[in-house]
Every structure is written in C-alpha cells, then in structure tokens.
C-alpha cells in the first residue's frame, strides 16, 4: 500500500508541477520524463535481470526512426507512426536478443555494443533516407494525435507524463508478477533458476523485448514531442546515458531511473553553461558511482531506511 502510494504520489506531484514551474524547467521536465521512460526500460534488463547492455541506443533509435521515417516517407499520421516505432523497437530487440543472449557477461556487453554501433552506422549509410548526422525535423503538422498538437508545451508535458506513468506502472506491475520475480531470481543466481525448471532463455528474451520496446516507445515519443530525429540518438553515447542514469538513481529500483535522469540532466545542464566538455561530468560520475555507490541513490535509500522499496 505504501509502495503504491509512493508512486501515485510522485505522478501526482509531477502532474501538479506543471502549473508552477517556469517555462524553461517545464520543458526540461517533459524531456526528463521521456528520457526517464527510456531509463526505466533499460533498468528492466540491467537492474532486474542483471544483463548489462551497451546497445540500448539501438532500441531507442529503432523507435525514433520507425516513427520518424513512417511520417517522413510514408506520410503516416502521428498515431500509426508511433505504433510503427513501437513495433520496430520490439522487432529489433527481439532479433538482437535471439543473437546476443547466446552469450553472457562481457561478451554480451560487447555484442550489444557492436550491433548498436552497426545500427548507428547503418543510419549514417542510408543518409539519403535518414539524413544521417544532420537528422530531420518532423513537421509540426505531422505531430497531431486526435487533434491535439503535441508541439504545444502543455500538451507535450501531458504526453510525456502519460508515457512516464505507463512505463512506471508497467515496471511496477512487471516486477511484482511471477515473471518479474523470476527475472530477479535470474539476476541473483541463474543456475539455480535453471535447476528449478524455468527456461532462463525464454525469460531473458522476454525481459529484453519488454526493455527494448519500452526504450523504443520512449524514442518514438521523444521524436514526436520534440520534432527531431537524428543519428546522434543511435550513437554509443545514448547507450551509455541510460546506464549512467540507472546506476546513479539505483539499479533495480522502480524510481531509480527517474531520480538518476533528473539529477544527471540538471548536472549536465548546469555544467554545460561553464564548459563545452560537459561529458566530463558523466565520466566522473560513472567512475565515482562504480567506486563508492554501486547501489545508486535509491539503492542506498533502500539499504538504509526502507527495505521494502521496490
């Protein structure tokens, strides 16, 4: 009960915040909620299943380009384009899972990294369609769902909040379901889960598809809300970001991804005013986290104060 209250409370606060926040932070928070949805997707694989992927940008970009190319080249309306993005992310993550899950540990990390890099280069290679690094702007006229203009700040905030709520609820529901409990068991001891008669491959496959689809949904929504799709969203950096956010917020916690994204976003936002080398902050935080707080913020909170925090 306390758990449900906490998450509904957060969503209520986010809902209320939009009436008080100044325009700049209002826009930022919409962006953070979409990126946090991406991090929630990442956390399902990394935090709960214990598989460290270095290639989630592939799924984010699959969603973004599935949606963007649908609008750009097939003149789809926004809603079907969004669905196209979600479906393409599901397909890509399923395909990669079938290959990458044959490996474990370090090999899994490198395989996901390599396929994501291949995906990034493919986007550059078909520059005629994707406009490569430069990317393309999604016209405002195409960003309408049921007559609601998603480029309007208030609507955009609501859309981001809806996406974030869906991801949060899916994550909370998933980890309390038997499927999610099995995933956690796989993270803790894969051999034992196998011995108990579960198909760990099927569970990991499921986790990777759910994780990739959520990430892709975030990618598609990001493109739709902010009107831009570019190859940089498929680059290694965008695979590292969710790892960073989740590590900072706390891997294997439902709220960790949001907390991590929020912190990191403002940390980079503040430092980019001082120096152009803002990725330095990301590097320092990564090293410090692995050294001193592998549990992340919410993980520490769970360890010290609230054992039952999901």
């Amino acid at each position: 009960m306390k758990v449900v209250g906490l998450h509904i409370g957060l969503l209520a606060v986010l809902f209320a915040l939009q009436f008080v926040l100044p325009a700049y932070h209002h826009g930022n928070l919409a962006r953070i909620m979409v990126l946090a949805s991406y991090a929630i997707g990442y956390n399902i694989l990394f935090g709960y299943t214990g598989l460290l992927s270095l290639g989630h940008a592939l799924f984010f970009a699959a969603g973004m380009y599935g949606m963007g190319l649908g609008i750009q080249h097939f003149d789809l309306p926004a809603a079907p384009a969004l669905i196209a993005g979600v479906v393409s992310a599901a397909l890509v993550s399923g395909g990669l899972a079938l290959l990458a899950l044959r490996t474990t540990g370090v090999a899994f990390m490198i395989v996901t990294l390599m396929f994501a890099q291949a995906g990034y280069l493919t986007i550059l290679y078909f520059g005629e369609w994707t406009r490569g690094d430069e990317g393309f702007v999604i016209a405002q006229s195409a960003r309408m769902i049921a007559g609601i203009d998603l480029s309007d700040p208030t609507n955009r905030y609501f859309a981001a909040l809806i996406l974030f709520s869906i991801c949060l609820v899916v994550c909370l529901w998933l980890i309390r379901s038997p499927f999610g409990k099995t995933l956690i068991a796989i993270r803790e001891n894969e051999e034992r889960v196998t011995m108990l008669g579960y198909s760990t491959f099927a569970h990991k496959l499921g986790a990777m598809v759910v994780s990739g689809t959520l990430s892709g949904t975030a990618g598609a929504t990001y493109g739709l809300l902010f009107g831009y799709a570019g190859a940089s969203f498929a680059s290694v950096q965008y695979s590292i970001f969710p790892l960073l956010w989740v590590l900072l917020g706390g891997a294997g916690t439902v709220l960790g991804p949001f907390v991590g994204t929020l912190f990191m976003f403002y940390l980079i936002d503040l430092s980019s005013g001082i120096t152009s080398a803002y990725m330095l902050i990301a590097g320092v935080v990564l090293v410090l986290l692995t050294l001193f707080a592998p549990q992340g913020l919410m993980g520490e909170l769970r360890r010290r104060f609230w054992k039952g925090l999901p």
Binding site: V106, M109, T275, A282, V284
Partner: protein
C-alpha cells in the same frame, strides 16, 4: 592508374594500418589476457599518445626528428604512468570485477577525452614526420615488346611510412621476447594462467596487474606516436583504434597475442583494400557485424582456443 598498382598502393597503406593496429591491439589483448579487464578507455590512451607527441614536438622545436625521438620515449612513459595510476586508484578497488571495470573504464574514457578537449582544444593538429623522402615504386607491364618495368604516376610511398612498418614489427618482437624470455614475462604468464596459484607462489599479482595495464596503455601510446605524423592529433581520434582493436582482439581470440597480430594484419590489409571498393561506412558496418557474430557463434575467436 590501373587496378594492379592501385591494389599495391592499397596494400601498402593497409600494411601501415595493420602495423599500428597490431601494436594497439596487442596492448588491449595483453590487458584482457592477464587481467581479464576489457579496457574501453584504450582508445583514449592512444589519443593521449598522439597529443603528447604534438606537445613534445612543440616544446622542443628544432628538427622534427628530435621531437619525434623524444615523444617516442616520453609519450609511452607518461601514458603508462597515468594508466598505472588509474589501475591503482580505480580498477584495483573494484577488485577487477569484469562488468564494473567496463563501466569504470567508460567513465575514464570520457574523463580523458573531455579533459583533452578542455586543454588541447577541438582542432586537429599535425606533427612533422622526422624524415619523409618520397620513393616511387615500379610496376611491371606486359606490353607489345614483352615484360618491362614502369613507374606509374602516383604510385609511391615515403621513407617514413616504411619506417612505421619496421618500427611496429620491432616493437611487436620486443613484446614477444618480453613475454617469452624475461622474468617479468614469466610472472605475467603465470598470473594469466592462474591468479590464485600465482598469489600462492608469492607473485605480487597486484603489481603485475598495474604493470600490465601500464604496458598495454604504453603500447597504444607508442602506436599513436608512430601514426601521428601521417594522421593528425585530435581529441576524438581514439574511437576508431578502439573499435578496430576490439575487432582484432576478438577475431584473433581474446588474450592470444599471436592471434591478435595475425588478425591485425588481416583486418589492416582488408580495411585498406575494402575501402578502395566500398564506402568506409559500409566497411565499418560489416566489420562491427563480424565482431558481433564471431562473439555469438565462435566466442573463442577465429584463431583462439579460449572463450570469454
């Protein structure tokens, strides 16, 4: 030019890529083999080598050869010490846990890269080669009057490029001799074979680890000093060597030094020749897919015997 001389030229360029790549990749392979650490920051050690070569050349002035010779000594030492410091402050404290060290070296990558951006700046800066005489290369032709040598325009190389190949080969030989013939190499191999047993026999494993990490980074820096007169020093130049080294190390079999060298020559040559026929992006796509698929279907590498 006709196709024949063209391929000869591509092969020569490929040999240069291959020799520098072999040095960089052997560094990565050594670190992985002995420490079981995947060093994502390896490309940044390479970049630092190039940047230091530029700085040394600027500071010393005079004839390019003076700066170059100094850089060849200073860059690996500096980069190696930096790597040893990183090993002792970060990797050691993580207990060399494979997954956590990857995350930490990703962090290290950004720290080194961005600090270079802040101090060295975003420009690409050239370094003068110590010597650079042009050599024209002959090509044969079967004409109406039989076999004869011709000197096609544009077919040639420079003494410096040949020097790079020779120097890299010498350095690789030195690494091999160090691993097989010296006490320290023996200690490294013992640590690689069985860490616990090595500890039990009183080998200072942690010092060996620090040394190996330093040597690995130093090799990358040395490779960069060799290549920087041909390319230019730039703060983002570490990405390609990292990717290529990964490809080489994985195809050659993780932790196997001879396999790494063979794979480097294979990849370096095919990279030069493939990019004559295909676009470089397509070549990179194929290469990354190859690495992924090799890891999935043949994790011991094409030549290796051990899996990850």
């Amino acid at each position: 030019m006709e196709l024949g001389p063209y391929i000869l030229l591509a092969t020569l360029e490929g040999m240069i890529t291959a020799s520098v790549l072999a040095l960089t990749a052997v560094g990565l392979s050594l670190v992985f083999g002995v420490m079981r650490v995947v060093n994502i920051a390896h490309g940044e050690f390479f970049m630092l080598g190039a940047v230091i070569a530029w700085c040394v050349a600027q500071m010393l002035g005079g004839h390019p050869a003076v700066g170059f010779a100094a850089a060849l000594v200073i860059a690996p030492l500096l980069v190696g010490s930096l790597a040893i410091a990183a090993d002792m402050t970060i990797l050691k404290r993580l207990d060399y846990d494979p997954e956590r060290t990857i995350v930490a070296t990703i962090g290290l990558l950004y720290i080194i890269q961005q600090l270079t951006l802040m101090s060295f700046g975003p420009e690409a800066r050239p370094v003068q080669p110590p010597f650079n005489t042009r050599i024209a290369l002959p090509w044969f032709e079967m004409g109406a009057d039989g076999f004869k040598l011709i000197w096609p325009w544009g077919l040639g190389t420079t003494t410096y490029k040949l020097f790079v190949i020779v120097a890299a080969a010498a350095l690789l030989l030195a690494v091999r001799l160090m691993m097989t013939r010296t006490k320290i190499g023996l200690l490294m191999r013992a640590t690689q074979a069985d860490r616990e047993m090595a500890l039990a026999f009183g080998i200072p494993v942690e010092r060996i680890y620090a040394l190996v990490f330093g040597i690995g980074a130093g090799l990358a820096a040395m490779a960069a000093v060799l290549i920087v007169p041909i390319q230019q020093a730039h703060y983002l130049m570490g990405a390609d060597p990292l990717l290529l080294s990964f490809i080489v190390v994985i195809i050659g079999g993780l932790g196997s030094l001879p396999g790494t060298v063979v794979a480097a020559i294979l990849i370096g040559l095919s990279d030069g020749i493939i990019s004559v026929f295909f676009s470089p992006t397509l070549a990179k796509i194929l290469a990354t897919l190859l690495v992924g698929l090799v890891l999935v279907f043949r994790p011991q590498g094409l030549f290796g015997i051990r899996s990850v």
